[in-house]
Symmetry: C2
Subunit: 367 residues, 2 copies
């Protein structure tokens, strides 16, 4: 069986795949309403929020766009805190809809400096909302969102967070951190195929919604909230993914969210330790290295694209490459959702053989 | 097994459901690229177009919104030809994004009069595009799109058509009729679960795209077109639905599109004949009655909501109710996608028993 080690879509448990193959049901009927209400109640526990997270049929990017168009108005000043491709994307969406974006960017592999966020807010008092990526999939960095949220909230700004690849894997206490809109995606730690974004909106977020003037129809979260009262979605939902999500959430709550977070911490440490033992270098500042995805620098003669090809063709292990400016410069190992030590050990075992074939001249430690 | 007789989501063949349960694969890898290219080539045959239909992860409404934001600019004058809820929705989306909508509406149960479209275009020379619903799911009417398209094209306007519940079931020769953007949805005649919209854009449509100024990011069809060259989508696709779609398209092409259209014609006639034989009245003007969904008037004492409840609880047959202004006034029988005479005969057999229980006092013919 293929060892899919990209940071999403992630492998799905057999029980989830069985649910994906469920025959269609009426999306306006009782059975679907029960599933949606159950999924909503269980999402709340993982999001650690009192708000009902809402579903949008679409990918994670649809979730980012939904956040922007429901909270902001053209001309609004927003601070974009970006540490990679997905941070840039969030800002680009805001800009597309007419927001006035103040950019605060950090080098790839670095976390955002909370003090720089504080200074940027002081220098730009007109800023209404702050866009942050919690876990930047393109570089493998997890921002110190607890620290950033304190600064953003004490400045009285809206906090809009891309938690797509953290929520469900890494601790994100949405209410405690005062996140006004938290966005996630089904194909990450949730162990469900892609096709659904989830958004939790705070009370302040709903106040912003009431004021927001960006055009929205399909992504209108107010309509989603209203439909949820009837156990429905405003537009035909991804029925299969909702039924699969219910199964996945049951599995997650059975494992327990604290245990899930601890397992991801273990997987992150295990991956980084093993990668370094092979003589490879991490892109990420280790203090902020992500527990869901590890980015590895293609140095010491290593051809990252060739490596990924060998890994796939000879070992049936699928790794991710670099995105945007990092294309060809790194490779990435996903370790979120359904993952255990042996899945990552298999990656190391194959890397030992594949690295020299891909030009790598570095020396691995004797372990 | 439940007999799901709503106009989408439609029942899926077992082979399609098996594909829905496929384990996740890399959406940037070779296997997915092969599937996407195959799906695209096969969609072209059903759309009867030389353009590559593009996929949007979302429901049919996402497809309507994608059509609007990719073709139009704020302030553009558009003619909305509406015969029901979905026509109104298409217009509302255009209005939301700042289009200047000229409304041409027809009574529920009636088709659009092509001559009225001609007159409206003559009276509103500034109109740039015409929005039409081919098959109005809420009333069960199929517009005479061949006649309407001739008028719209000879006036030199863009023709934007909601073919969500017709394409794949009813003949829609997209290129021959000069449709500039044709929108469909996976959960209709295509026999695939909901979660994916498909759009085919003409050359004139792409010229309009280049001029269009409505904000768009997630729905940007130019990005989708560019990504397709690499066998990818700009954002994480609905992997499961793409794999399932491939299987469904193989089944459709094996049956043959002419045979599919003929089967739907048969199903439409069979349904209407049977409904009338029960003493019920059709909402639709029979000259334009849809071959994918039949709307039945709740008259002669009939409580439509009660009927649907009895049909579901006692016979495991799921019918649809009325939408918007037709809520409680009609019920609807879906007959698109995977459907054969015996599925509809089972509906009649149950209706015979259920109708009197739901207050119906009309007399059925002796057959």
């Amino acid at each position: 069986m293929q060892n899919l080690r990209i940071p999403g879509p992630t492998p799905c448990p057999p029980e989830v795949l069985t649910a994906m193959g469920h025959q269609m049901i009426n999306h306006r009927g009782v059975e679907f309403a029960d599933a949606l209400k159950d999924v909503t109640a269980k999402m709340k526990k993982v999001f650690q929020t009192q708000a009902d997270p809402l579903l949008v049929t679409g990918s994670g990017t649809a979730g980012l766009e939904a956040a922007v168009v429901n909270m902001l108005s053209p001309g609004d000043s927003v601070l974009s805190v970006s540490i990679g491709v997905f941070g840039e994307r969030f800002a680009k969406i805001a800009e597309t809809y007419g927001a006035d974006v103040v950019s605060l960017s950090f080098a790839h592999g670095q976390a955002a400096d909370p003090e720089a966020v504080r200074t940027a807010l002081e220098n730009n008092p007109a800023v209404k909302a702050v866009l942050v990526t919690h876990n930047e999939t393109s570089t493998g960095i997890t921002n110190d969102l607890a620290a950033i949220s304190k600064i953003v909230k004490s400045a009285g700004k809206l906090l809009m967070v891309d938690c797509i690849s953290s929520l469900g894997s890494i601790n994100v206490p949405v209410d405690e951190w005062g996140i006004d809109v938290a966005i996630s995606g089904s194909q990450k730690g949730w162990m469900v195929p892609p096709g659904m974004a989830m958004l939790a909106v705070s009370e302040a977020g709903w106040e912003a919604y009431a004021q927001s003037k960006m055009p929205r129809f399909y992504f209108d979260l107010g309509k989603a909230k209203k439909s949820l009262e009837k156990g429905q979605t405003p537009w035909t939902p991804n029925v299969s993914a909702v039924l699969a999500f219910r199964v996945a959430l049951n599995m997650m709550l059975e494992e327990g969210i604290e245990s899930i977070f601890a397992r991801h911490t273990r997987m992150g440490n295990f991956t980084r330790t093993g990668v370094k033992a092979l003589g490879l270098n991490l892109l990420a500042d280790e203090r902020y290295a992500s527990n869901t995805v590890t980015s590895v620098i293609a140095d010491q003669g290593l051809d990252a694209k060739k490596l990924n090809k060998i890994m796939r063709e000879e070992f049936d292990i699928v790794l991710a490459g670099g995105q945007g400016p990092l294309e060809g410069k790194i490779f990435r190992i996903g370790h979120l959702g359904m993952v255990k030590e042996s899945d990552i050990q298999a990656v190391f075992d194959a890397l030992k053989l594949a690295l020299p074939q891909a030009g790598f001249t570095g020396k691995s430690e004797q372990r």
